[in-house]
């Protein structure tokens, strides 16, 4: 079951991360906390998916990263949305809206 959930997340995880990072520089742990909080514990991002995704996004140039002092005083890797990342996020949001509209429409008509 857990396996299926993370599979489902795979397409949307990237978008969720980009959206969270868009709010300002943030480190990996905070990203997972933020996603969990906002979704009211619906999404729990496993570390095994989070970090590969972060590195993939960084690798594609959508996120940039630097080491700076965290709120506890320890150095942490903070991710920032790049301009390229912002464009990507916009594309994905548009796509997501159309997708969810379409899905909702089918569900309504099928009633």
């Amino acid at each position: 079951m857990a396996q299926e959930k993370s599979e489902f997340l795979k397409g949307t995880l990237d978008m969720l991360i980009l959206k969270v990072v868009a709010l300002g520089p943030i480190h990996g742990y905070a990203i997972s906390q933020r996603i969990q909080q906002i979704s009211k514990d619906f999404f729990q991002v496993p570390q095994g998916s989070l970090y590969p995704a972060l590195h993939r996004l960084e690798d594609r140039g959508w996120l940039s990263a630097d080491w700076r002092e965290s709120e506890t005083g320890r150095d942490a890797k903070f991710y920032t949305l790049t301009r390229k990342g912002r464009r990507q996020l916009e594309t994905e949001l548009v796509y997501w809206e159309r997708l969810s509209d379409a899905v909702a429409m089918i569900l309504r008509t099928a009633e």
Partner: protein
């Protein structure tokens, strides 16, 4: 460029990744503690959550783009470390591959250069050789006449160009020792058709053939280099051929030579009579098909030309043309032998591959635990698969490189031992195409033999594999499957090796039978050499030509006879054991019995000097042989061999009968009386059964070139130089060629047979050795796997003898099966090479039995070594093992 930078700052990025994940972990722990969880419980929860740092790190690493390249380096490093660690295995595998690839590449280079690669002429694939065939000489492909050439040029519309040539040997005199030169007289269009250019001066043009201005010559690059020191002003200089000065007009492009190893080309200027002669079978003809034209269409056109020709010229009798691609007509005799060698080399490669596969299989299962451990530590399935492939490809490349070195050596060896007249010998080399061929072969081998063990390793469950080794049922089932595969490979290797052994024995027996074949004449203390175009003979055939020539002949023979150490001297018009024979048209035998078969029969002719049979040691069966009195002043006489007497008269008592070898000017037979019958001898080739032959007196006929046979008292080798020096002293312009003892002559005439025998024996040796290593490896491996089982058996009371029987029984069964399969396959395959055998049948039972015994006994020994090790297993040690 993130990924590239990361590639070089790998350590740094590893540290960062670690720090990033640790930060996450610690923050989470801190959060849990802040929520009131006891610190120990918090840590446990987080660690459980993470489920191990390594797999996460691995997944993160793999999400980067540079990952593939980065890990390829890792894999390569790892692979080379593993190969270094298992040096024994690496060396065995690399040598195995090198031998297989080396043998195959070498033979393929040779085959490619000699029978596959297009001839080095323009559009050579479209060039066909056109020959004539008559009822009188059914076995020979003859040249065509000028009349035919004109008709073909006019009527064979499928040909774009047609030209002809005729090869002759001419004596080159002038500066340096007189030498014999291969010269071709060529018609117009010859150079154009072959696409040749000149590097200096010009080539022949049609006007050069006009009488009075036809003494011009184009010389080859090599003649230009050797005789004219690459003088750029060579056009205009003189080349003296057969005492006739020719003006050099140009030098052909480097490396060009055609039809064989021609050094000069002169215009073909036939006499008016030759031009009209329907039975002038002298023009070797090459035609170039138009683009897109089929050979069938040409053949149809040639057929209709021949039909018309037979109507117009009834004197030629049954007449037809044939056409054959130039390439196949120039290599037809070597094709079968080369294809056989190619097959043998392929067998060696197959054996090598099978060997490598079993080595990798054995090692693959030995490394299951290592693979399992790596899988448990987070290596993905694909990664393990790739790792295995990288390793086997690296191994294959090492083998491939070694193989190329071996191939280059092999080609050199071939060039050294191949008979000098092997077609296109000089073109043979390892070229870049073949380099790629072998690199590709080795990579394919690497992928094929790496993928099976690697897939197996990547598919297994780490849990099971790590638990295995204590003899779980699963492990036993898997190793059972593995040993079945191993056994199948052994069977294959043994079968192929058996075929190779049988082939090499058959070829070696052939060589030995030929070497021991009694030729019917005495071969010891016999020296032979050629005097091509004997100097001092008038070139115009005048009235006293025969007389002048025989005087000259006597002079030469006497000159040689007086050399100390020479016992007797005689001559023949063509060489002994040179594979040459002459058949004259129009042989009429008086009182001949009807031919046993419908095929037209013919006999070989040979012009010999008095005492020929005595000097050669061929026994006279009836009558007498030629003496000095059988010369131009007396009636023509003939001596026949026993085969001829039996074939034509059915008896040996034929002295006094007569035959006619030629007709006079008015077409009337010129009869010769039989004065003697000699025993059959193999003067043409050791392989050939003696065929009907008649001998005419050299003093009564016209002889082109001279072959001298000298019986010596002492070592004939020592006399050679003395003889040629004496001849040059008397006749400064006389070339002396092919000077050698009869034993060397015999050995050279068996060059092809020797080559086949040597190469097949080398291949059989390699294949056999590899197969034995395979047998040994598989049995050793199965013993190593079963040490525990053997220990238990011994603990339960099995005697060492039982263990020996168990191990040998299992290891030997695939060998026996291999021999059986090999024997069946060999019986089928050797039939294909039956024509290359002599004195031994393709299915020679002693050969098959001997080869089987050899393979079985040696394989048994290979089984015994690991079996003895098994026998000495100490049950206590074996049970404590693991």
């Amino acid at each position: 460029m993130h990924w590239l930078r990361r590639l070089f700052r790998k350590e740094h990025s590893e540290k960062q990744l670690d720090a990033e994940l640790r930060f996450h972990m610690e923050r989470q722990i801190a959060d849990f503690i802040a929520k009131g969880m006891p610190p120990q419980e918090a840590r446990r929860r987080v660690r459980l959550d993470f489920g191990g740092l390594e797999p996460i790190k691995q997944a993160t690493r793999e999400s980067r783009r540079g990952h593939l390249l980065e890990t390829l380096f890792q894999d390569l490093r790892y692979a080379s470390r593993m190969l270094r660690k298992n040096l024994g295995f690496t060396i065995a595998a690399a040598i195995t591959l090198a031998l297989g690839i080396g043998a195959n590449t070498a033979i393929f280079s040779i085959v490619n250069a000699s029978i596959l690669r297009p001839l080095p002429y323009k559009d050579s694939a479209r060039i066909v050789q056109i020959s004539a065939h008559t009822a009188m000489f059914p076995k020979f492909s003859l040249g065509i006449s000028w009349l035919n050439l004109d008709q073909i040029r006019a009527q064979a519309s499928s040909l774009e160009l047609t030209s002809a040539y005729s090869e002759t040997d001419k004596t080159l005199t002038g500066s340096g020792e007189p030498t014999l030169l291969s010269v071709a007289s060529v018609t117009d269009g010859f150079f154009e058709e072959l696409g040749v250019t000149s590097q200096i001066g010009r080539l022949l043009i049609p006007d050069d053939a006009k009488a009075g201005q036809n003494f011009v010559a184009v010389i080859s690059d090599s003649l230009w280099q050797t005789r004219f020191a690459a003088d750029p002003n060579v056009p205009g200089k003189t080349l003296v051929l057969d005492k006739q000065p020719y003006t050099i007009i140009g030098v052909a492009a480097p490396r060009f030579t055609f039809p064989s190893s021609e050094q000069a080309w002169i215009p073909f200027s036939p006499s008016a009579a030759d031009r009209q002669n329907a039975k002038y079978f002298m023009l070797q003809t090459i035609g170039k098909l138009r683009v897109g034209e089929k050979p069938e269409k040409l053949n149809a056109q040639l057929d209709s030309i021949a039909q018309q020709f037979m109507k117009d010229h009834p004197e030629v009798g049954v007449y037809r043309f044939s056409s054959e691609p130039l390439l196949s007509s120039s290599v037809s005799d070597t094709r079968d032998a080369f294809l056989m060698l190619l097959a043998a080399a392929t067998f060696v490669l197959l054996i090598a591959c099978a060997n490598l596969a079993s080595l990798l299989l054995a090692r693959g299962s030995g490394r299951q635990r290592e693979m399992a451990l790596r899988a448990a530590l987070g290596a993905s399935r694909g990664r393990l698969l790739r790792q295995g492939l990288v390793e086997s490809c690296l191994l294959a490349l090492i083998g491939g490189v070694l193989g190329i070195v071996l191939a280059a050596q092999g080609v050199e060896l071939f060039r050294a031992i191949a008979p000098p007249d092997t077609s296109r010998l000089s073109e043979i080399s390892v070229d870049s195409t073949l380099l790629w061929f072998s690199v590709l072969t080795s990579l394919i081998a690497g992928v094929l033999f790496g993928i099976v063990p690697a897939r197996r390793a990547s598919r297994m469950d780490p849990n099971e594999a790590l638990k295995e080794g204590t003899g779980s049922n699963l492990g036993a089932a898997r190793s059972g499957r593995q040993s079945r595969l191993g056994n199948a490979l052994v069977t294959l290797e043994v079968a192929l090796a058996f075929i190779l052994v049988v082939g090499s024995v058959l070829m070696t027996l052939t060589l030995s039978r030929l070497l021991h074949q009694n030729p019917g004449f005495r071969t010891d203390h016999l020296l032979s050499f050629d005097l091509p175009q004997p100097a001092g003979v008038p070139s115009e055939k005048g009235k006293d030509y025969v007389k002048q020539q025989s005087n000259h002949l006597r002079e030469i023979v006497e000159k040689v006879r007086t050399i100390p150490g020479v016992v007797e001297v005689t001559t023949s018009d063509h060489g002994v054991l040179k594979g040459m024979m002459m058949q004259q048209g129009g042989l009429i035998v008086d009182g001949a019995i009807p031919a046993p078969s419908k095929e037209s029969r013919n006999a070989n002719a040979r012009y010999v000097y008095p005492d020929y049979f005595h000097v050669m040691g061929i026994p006279m069966l009836r009558g007498r042989e030629f003496s000095d009195r059988d010369n131009g002043d007396t009636d023509s006489k003939v001596v026949v061999n026993a085969a001829m007497a039996q074939e034509y008269w059915g008896t040996l008592d034929v002295v006094g009968r007569r035959l006619s070898a030629s007709t006079d000017d008015k077409g009337k037979p010129t009869w010769s009386e039989v004065i003697g019958v000699v025993a059959d001898a193999r003067e043409v080739a050791l392989r050939d059964e003696p065929s009907p032959t008649y001998f005419l007196s050299a003093l009564q006929g016209t002889v082109g070139s001279l072959h001298l046979l000298v019986r010596t008292q002492t070592d004939p080798d020592a006399l050679g130089t003395t003889i040629s020096r004496q001849i040059w002293a008397a006749y400064p312009d006389q070339p002396v060629t092919h000077l050698m003892t009869m034993s060397r002559n015999i050995s050279e005439s068996l060059g092809d047979e020797r080559l086949r025998s040597v190469l097949l024996t080398v291949f059989a040796g390699i294949g056999f050795a590899l197969a034995l290593v395979g047998v040994y490896g598989v049995v050793s491996y199965s013993v190593a796997k079963r040490v525990q089982e053997i220990g238990i058996r011994m603990a339960l009371g099995a005697a060492p003898r039982d263990v020996l029987r168990l191990v040998i029984g299992q290891g030997f069964l695939p060998v026996v099966l291999g021999v059986v399969i090999g024997a069946v396959a060999a019986a089928a395959l050797t039939r294909l090479v039956a024509s290359q055998l002599y004195g031994v049948k393709a299915s020679d039972p002693p050969t098959f039995l001997g080869a089987a015994a050899l393979v079985l006994v040696v394989a048994l020994i290979a089984c015994c070594i690991p079996a003895r090790r098994a026998m000495r297993v100490d049950p206590m040690v074996a049970l404590r093992y693991e």
